[in-house]
C-alpha cells in the first residue's frame, strides 16, 4: 500500500473544486485513458486578471486526484504570471510530498496548468516537440531532458517516476540513459572491448570451465568430457563415461557444451569431438 500523507488522503477523499467551468478562460487537457491518468484543468479570471476560479476533472489514482485538487487551490488568487511559476515540486510539497513512483501525478498537474495558460494566451498548441523516446507512453526527449534538468533526476527509474517514460516495454531504456548522461555530463566512454585472451589464458579458461561447470553437469548422467586440444577457436574434446556411448552426445556437445563455453570463454568457440 502506498504511504500517502494525510493531506493527500484529504484531497483525494474530499476533492476541492471538482467539475467544469462552462465559460472558462483557459482549459488544459493532459494524459489519456490508456496511460491510466488524465486531467482537464479549467480556470476563470476576474477583472484584475487574477484567477478567480479553478476546477478540474481527473481520471486516475488517489495521488492524481489529490494533485489536481491541490493545484486548483494553489492557483486561486494568482495572476497568470504567478501561476506560470508553479512547478510540479510545488504541487507535491503542498501535499506534504508524494511517493516517488507517483511524482508523475504532480507533473501532470503542472502540464495541465501550462496548457490552460497557453490556451488563454492563445498561444498555438505546442506541437509535440522533440522526438518520441518512449513509445508506450508517448514521451519525447524534450520532456525527459526537462525532468533531468529541473527535478535533478539521474536514473532511468527516476525518469519513469516523473514522466512515465520507460515504464512500459523498456525498449527505450538505453536512449533515456543517453539523455541523462548527456545532460549530467557523465557520458561514459564506450566500454572497451574485453582484451582478447591470449592463447594461454584461453586454454586455462576452457579447462576451468569444463572442470567447474560442464563436468559436474555431465556427471549427473554419469558422463564426462576431456579437453584434448585447442586449435585457434576449435576446441577438441573427447567424451567419456556414459557420454561416450550415448546417442545424444552430439546434441549435448552442441547445445550444452558449446553454448556454455561460448558464454564463459569466448563467443567464437566451436566444439568438436575427437575419438
Amino acid at each position: 500500500m502506498w504511504e500517502y500523507t494525510d493531506k493527500v488522503k484529504d484531497h483525494f477523499l474530499n476533492p476541492r473544486n471538482a467539475g467544469v467551468i462552462e465559460d472558462a478562460d483557459g482549459v488544459g487537457e493532459v494524459g489519456s485513458i490508456a496511460c491510466g491518468d488524465a486531467l482537464t484543468f479549467y480556470f476563470k479570471l476576474d477583472e484584475n486578471g487574477k484567477i478567480k476560479d479553478a476546477t478540474f476533472q481527473t481520471f486516475g489514482c488517489a495521488s492524481a486526484i489529490a494533485s489536481s485538487s491541490a493545484l486548483t487551490e494553489m492557483v486561486k488568487g494568482m495572476t497568470l504570471e504567478e501561476a506560470k511559476s508553479i512547478t510540479n515540486e510545488d504541487i507535491a510539497e503542498y501535499l506534504g510530498g508524494l511517493p516517488k513512483e507517483k511524482m508523475h501525478c504532480s507533473v501532470m498537474g503542472r502540464d495541465a496548468l501550462e496548457k490552460a495558460i497557453g490556451c488563454y494566451l492563445d498561444e498555438p498548441e505546442k506541437k509535440v516537440e522533440g522526438e518520441i523516446v518512449c513509445e508506450c507512453f508517448g514521451v519525447t526527449d524534450r520532456e525527459i531532458e526537462r525532468v533531468v534538468r529541473e527535478n535533478h533526476v539521474s536514473t532511468i527509474e527516476g525518469v519513469t517516476d516523473y514522466v512515465k517514460a520507460g515504464g512500459g516495454c523498456g525498449n527505450c531504456h538505453d536512449r533515456i540513459q543517453e539523455i541523462i548522461d548527456e545532460i549530467l555530463g557523465t557520458e561514459k566512454p564506450a566500454l572497451k572491448k574485453a582484451p582478447a585472451l591470449t592463447n594461454l589464458q584461453k586454454i586455462k579458461l576452457i579447462e576451468e570451465s569444463i572442470e567447474r561447470e560442464i563436468n559436474p553437469t555431465l556427471k549427473k548422467d554419469a558422463g564426462r568430457m576431456e579437453l584434448i586440444d585447442v586449435d585457434g577457436n576449435r576446441v577438441l574434446v573427447r567424451m567419456g563415461g556414459s557420454c561416450a556411448s550415448c546417442a545424444k552426445s552430439p546434441v549435448t556437445l552442441k547445445h550444452y557444451v558449446e553454448s556454455k563455453l561460448r558464454e564463459l570463454v569466448s563467443p567464437d568457440l566451436v566444439v568438436e569431438e575427437v575419438q
Partner: protein, 390 residues
C-alpha cells in the same frame, strides 16, 4: 471499523481450528522430527498425518508430497527440476496469464537461451489449445499451466490438457495455488506430473506450501541439504506450519465433500449480479462458465482501480485491483492485457475473492457501498461525461 474481507485470493484468514492444531508445536513439541529420541521423533508421526491429509485433498499418494515454504518455491522447484532432468531439451511452455512465480522465471530462462512459448488466451481468458498443442515438440522440456487464474478465477481444463501432453511424453506442471481447496482435484487420474499449492490460500498460515511430484518423475532438489522430505527438500521441517497445512487440508476435504463452495459461489454471484445491475458500464472479466467459485473480476469503465480501492478502504472493504497504479508499475495487469481487456476497463478492474467466512450481510454492505463510490469517481472523471454523450 468492521472489516469486510473479500481479498481471499491474496491471502486468507488462518482457520481457528488450524491455529489451535499448530499451537502445541510452538511450545511443547519443539523437538526435531529427525531426532533419534522419541521427544523429537514422535513429531514425525504428526507430519506424516499432515502429508496424508494433503495427499487426500488432491487425490495423491502421501509419498508424492514434498513440503515447501510457499507456492513460489514449489513453482521454481518444479520448473528447475524439469529442465535439469532434460538438459538436452531447450524449449519450455507456459501461458500469458501465469502468476509472477512462473512468468518471471520463464522470462529469466528465456534470457538464458531457452526457447519459450507463452500460449495466448482469448477475450474470456480461455487458453488457445491449438496454439498450445502446435507449440509442442521433441525439444519441449516442460509445460506449466495454472489451474485457476488468481485475477479472474478462470479455470483451465488441466486434466484434459495434461493427459494430451503426457501422451506426448512431455513433463507437465500446474500451479494450482488458487484451485486447491476450492474445487475437487483428483491428480492421480490426470496427467499432471507436478503440482504447486500454497497453504495461506486455504486457511493455513503463510510460509508453507507443497509440491506434488508424481511417483517416477525425474527430480532434482532445489534446496539441497539433509535427508528431510526424502532428500527432495533439505532443511529442518517447519513443523507447526506443516501441522497447520495438514489441518487446513483436512477441513478443505470435509468441506468439498459437503456443500463445497456452494454458499460462497451463491454469495459471489449475488455480488456480481447486483453490481452489474446497479452500476452502468460494468462488466465481468473472464469466462463465467468455468471459474473458481469464489472469484469475480469486475471492470468499471472510466474510473481507476486504486481510487476505487482506497475509497472502499474507507468503508473497511478489502479487495484488490488489476490497475497499474496499485502495483507501482505503469501498465495494467498482464492478465487483463493478455485477454485484450480495453484500457477504459482494465484500469478500473476490481477483484473480489470470497471465503467461507464471508456473510450475506457483508455482501449486502458492498452492494450498498460500491455503486455510489463508482458514481462519485465518474463525476470526477473527464471521460465519463464524454462517453455518455457519445
Amino acid at each position: 471499523m468492521t472489516v469486510i474481507y473479500v481479498d481471499n485470493n491474496a491471502t486468507t484468514k488462518v482457520a481457528p481450528e488450524v491455529l489451535e492444531a499448530m499451537m502445541p508445536y510452538f511450545s511443547d513439541y519443539y523437538g526435531n522430527p529427525s531426532s533419534m529420541h522419541s521427544f523429537g521423533g514422535n513429531i514425525a508421526g504428526a507430519i506424516k498425518t499432515a502429508r496424508e491429509n494433503i495427499a487426500r485433498l488432491i487425490g495423491a499418494n502421501p509419498a508424492e508430497i514434498v513440503f515447501t515454504s510457499c507456492g513460489t518455491e514449489s513453482d521454481g522447484t518444479a520448473i528447475r527440476a524439469a529442465i535439469e532432468s532434460y538438459p538436452d531439451k531447450r524449449h519450455i511452455v507456459t501461458s500469458r496469464v501465469e502468476h509472477p512465480a512462473i512468468k518471471n522465471l520463464y522470462e529469466i530462462l528465456s534470457k538464458k537461451g531457452y526457447r519459450t512459448s507463452f500460449v495466448p488466451v482469448d477475450g474470456q481468458g480461455r487458453l488457445d489449445m491449438e496454439y498450445l498443442f502446435n507449440s509442442l515438440s521433441d525439444d519441449t522440456a516442460v509445460v506449466s499451466l495454472m489451474w485457476g487464474n488468481n485475477e479472474t478465477g478462470v479455470i483451465f481444463p488441466i486434466e484434459e490438457i495434461s493427459r494430451e501432453i503426457k501422451s506426448q511424453g512431455i513433463l507437465f506442471h500446474t500451479d494450482a495455488v488458487q484451485a486447491v481447496g476450492k474445487i475437487p482435484l483428483n491428480i492421480s487420474e490426470s496427467g499432471v506430473d507436478m503440482l504447486s499449492l500454497s497453504g495461506h490460500k486455504f486457511h493455513a498460515p503463510k510460509g508453507i506450501g507443497a509440491l506434488y511430484i508424481r511417483k517416477g518423475t525425474k527430480f532434482f532438489p532445489f534446496m539441497v541439504g539433509g535427508h528431510q522430505e526424502d532428500g527432495r527438500r533439505g532443511g529442518t521441517e517447519n513443523t507447526a506450519a506443516i501441522i497447520g497445512l495438514g489441518k487446513a487440508a483436512e477441513l478443505a476435504s470435509e468441506n468439498l465433500k459437503a456443500d463445497g463452495y456452494g454458499r460462497v459461489s451463491r454469495l459471489r454471484d449475488k455480488l456480481e449480479h447486483a453490481l452489474l445491475a446497479k452500476v452502468p458500464n460494468a462488466m465481468v472479466n473472464g469466462d463465467t462458465t468455468s471459474r473458481l467459485p469464489n472469484t469475480t473480476s469486475i471492470a468499471f469503465e472510466y474510473v481507476e482501480g486504486e481510487a476505487i480501492l482506497l475509497m472502499m478502504n474507507e468503508h473497511g472493504i478489502c479487495a484488490s485491483s488489476g490497475s497499474a497504479c496499485t502495483s507501482g508499475s505503469l501498465e495494467p495487469s498482464h492478465v487483463l492485457r493478455a485477454m485484450g481487456v480495453p484500457f477504459t476497463a482494465a484500469h478500473g478492474s476490481i477483484r473480489f475473492s470470497l471465503s467461507h467466512y464471508n456473510t450475506e450481510d457483508e455482501i449486502d454492505g458492498i452492494i450498498e457501498t460500491l455503486p455510489p463510490i463508482i458514481a462519485r469517481l465518474r463525476e470526477l472523471s473527464p471521460f465519463w461525461k464524454q462517453a455518455m454523450e457519445g
